[in-house]
């Protein structure tokens, strides 16, 4: 694994805590992501990884802690408590663990929704068919189609999203997220339910996206082979707490992590 060139910090989460009633789902977790990095967040089921994602992307408002973004060329912002759509506009895009596409819309339209926050045609302009609306519409279609091509879905662009195979739906979600022009992509279990070959393709896709788009990527994943091969750094959570962080090699040898995954006895 190449050493991470620690560039500019993009995302800075400090002491993030999320309570649901009496249950502390995420307990003072801190996490940083630097430019061009692929960071993985792993942990047993129910460790609070998805809740962490939801806090960062604004679906939940964290009980305590700070989420700060430093967009390249933009100004630093504290984003906790903001609406999800604003956070997306700032440049954070995500996919979902249980695929959330728009099933009755075409594949292309799904990606076009991602362009929504980067276009500004108003209702009146759309009704009158103004120059801006025509131009933006064309740009949206072209850009979306290019993205579909990049994830290998161009030939099913006019198909309904619900008719796609499972792996293709996952890739469509990534394309849709990328359509929002993010600087940080958050992928929630992108390889869940994929067969080894699809996982391999996904591996290549993620690495390619990072290279071509100069994105940073944070992903939650259970497939250890994928995680170990593509991540620069790994964070490990258990019962809402962060128990370890480091390079894939460090994590592999960390006794705390082995214990969390295999239990006390295996460790002893």
């Amino acid at each position: 694994m190449t050493a991470t060139n620690k560039g500019k910090k993009l995302l800075e989460v400090s002491g993030l805590t999320m309570d649901f009633g009496g249950l502390r789902a995420v307990d003072t977790v801190s996490l940083d992501i630097f430019e061009g990095e692929i960071v993985a967040l792993i942990g047993p089921n129910g460790a609070g990884k998805t809740t962490f994602f939801n806090c960062v992307t604004g679906i939940y408002e964290p009980t305590a802690g700070d989420v700060r973004i430093h967009p390249p060329g933009g100004k630093t912002r504290r984003i906790n408590g903001m609406k999800p759509n604003r956070i997306t506009t700032f440049g954070l895009a995500r996919t979902f663990q249980n695929i959330r596409l728009f099933p009755a819309m075409t594949v292309l339209e799904n990606v076009m929704i991602g362009r929504h926050c980067r276009t500004g045609t108003t209702i009146l302009e759309a009704i009158l068919g103004s120059r801006r609306s025509t131009r933006e519409e064309k740009e949206t279609v072209d850009k979306s189609y290019q993205l579909l091509k990049r994830v290998g879905l161009a030939d099913v662009a006019d198909e309904f999203a619900r008719n796609l195979a499972y792996g293709a739906q996952r890739r469509l979600e990534i394309a849709r997220a990328m359509a929002t022009d993010p600087f940080l992509l958050l992928l929630d279990e992108p390889a869940a339910g994929m067969n080894p070959q699809e996982t391999q393709e996904l591996d290549e896709l993620i690495v390619r996206i990072r290279k071509e788009e100069n994105l940073a990527i944070l992903l939650i994943e259970h497939d250890m082979k994928l995680v170990m091969s593509i991540s620069d750094r790994i964070y490990v959570m258990e019962y809402g707490k962060e128990i370890a962080q480091g390079t894939p090699r460090e994590i592999k040898e960390n006794p705390r992590v082995i214990e969390a995954y295999l239990g006390e006895e295996a460790h002893a």
């Binding site: 759509n85 929704i113 929504h116 209702i123 609306s133 519409e137 279609v141």
Partner: protein, 401 residues
């Protein structure tokens, strides 16, 4: 059959206090029951066989399409059909009316008013997926706006037409704000309540709205102060509504294929996902709600002008349900489907007055059958094909960087 026995066969003549037995009716009931059961069984079997066929074909997920669907999907043919329909619509009033008898024109005006209503609700329910059970309230708002403005301030039809729309929209926004965080059933209940409140206020505020008696002598649309006879007035109104229908189709179509319309549909499909993709939920929902209300307000003005008279009885829950039925029957989000369904639901009862007693029975049966055999409506919301350069793609890819 057992249940229909007392209804169809036994009749008590209350004058002579005798019981009439109409056994011949029993045969009819039996025949009808048989026919329905047979059709039922046939349809189910046909559907099952189709399904097994699809399974046998494995990969091809080509959805079965009806005749109307195929027609709608064929661009050349459907354009031709639409042109003919438009031409017929334009010459229609001259074909069917004479100076004495212009009943058909009047019927058509009412039907077209409901077409606009259906298309308006189609924005809220069909495209944005906000279930609105009180849509008729906005219609009432528009109608009363015109009635009151013309009565108290002597404003003309053409001034009031946009005003009615705007007031309807205003009500839509005011009602929309508090209820936007509600979903599905909860939203439906609140809108239902809003419609009831509107009706009760109209019925009981005698001094302003004229109470249950309503408001009479509402002026008809004026044409540069020319004196028109009854038939000409109807024909004139017909063209006004026809123009409104055209406008509604144009606007809905433009919006549907724009950034706004896609955001509506995305919200309908999955709220969380669309918000995560940067769609502003509050603003998008509010715009759909307000725009739907706008059309109802607009056409409410025409309704008041056409009837000369309005009272709260024209704005019952039944009407809301009827408009909703038009949208659902026609196919959520499909413009053509909604138009066909609106015309059918409004015109059939009008021309089948002879069967008025059975109207609701037939209506209910049709609804049940539709939901079982064609739940997506008469015509699917068309899958839009976008144009993009498949060949050039590779070069674009490079030039992007």
């Amino acid at each position: 059959m057992f249940l229909t026995l007392p209804l169809m066969v036994v009749r008590v003549n209350t004058v002579s206090k005798e019981v009439e037995w109409r056994w011949s009716n029993l045969i009819w009931v039996g025949l009808c029951a048989f026919a329905i059961a047979w059709f039922w069984q046939f349809s189910i079997e046909r559907r099952a066989s189709r399904r097994s066929q699809v399974v046998a074909d494995t990969h091809v997920v080509e959805e079965k399409r009806s005749l109307a669907q195929r027609l709608a999907d064929d661009p050349v043919l459907s354009r031709r059909v639409l042109r003919v329909a438009a031409a017929v619509a334009v010459v229609f009033p001259w074909l069917v009316s004479t100076d004495q008898n212009f009943y058909h024109v009047n019927v058509m005006v009412s039907a077209l008013i409901f077409v606009v209503l259906g298309l308006g609700l189609n924005i809220t329910v069909g495209l944005a997926g906000l279930l609105d059970l009180g849509y008729i309230a906005f219609f009432a708002v528009g109608a009363y706006t015109y009635a009151l403005l013309s009565k108290n301030f002597d404003l003309g039809f053409w001034t009031c037409l946009p005003l009615g729309g705007l007031v309807g929209m205003l009500f839509g926004v005011v009602l929309g704000f508090p209820i936007l965080r509600l979903r599905g059933d909860y939203l439906a209940i609140v809108t239902l309540g809003f419609a009831s409140i509107t009706k009760i206020v109209l019925e009981n505020w005698d001094t302003l709205f004229g109470g249950a008696a309503g408001i009479a002598n509402i002026p008809r649309p004026d044409l540069f102060g020319m004196a028109l006879n009854g038939r000409q007035k109807s024909v004139y109104t017909y063209y006004i509504v026809l123009a409104l229908v055209g406008l509604t189709i144009l606007v809905t179509n433009r919006l549907k294929n724009s950034r706004i319309g896609r955001a509506w549909m995305a919200l309908r499909e999955d709220e969380i996902a669309s918000v995560a993709m940067g769609v502003d939920m509050a603003r998008t929902k509010l715009s759909a709600y307000a725009l739907g209300a706008f059309w109802a307000g607009l056409v409410g003005v025409v309704f008041a002008a056409h009837n000369n008279f309005i009272n709260p009885d024209s704005f019952t829950f039944m009407d809301s349900a009827m408009i909703l039925a038009m949208v659902v029957l026609g196919g959520m989000g499909s413009i053509l489907g909604v138009i066909i369904a609106s015309l059918a639901l409004k015109l059939l009862p009008e021309y089948l007055r002879a069967f008025a007693e059975y109207r609701m029975v037939v209506f209910g049966a049709v609804m049940v059958l539709m939901m079982i055999f064609r739940p997506q409506g008469l015509i699917n919301n068309m899958r839009r094909k976008y144009e993009y350069d498949t060949v050039e793609g590779g070069h674009d890819d490079d030039s992007n960087k």
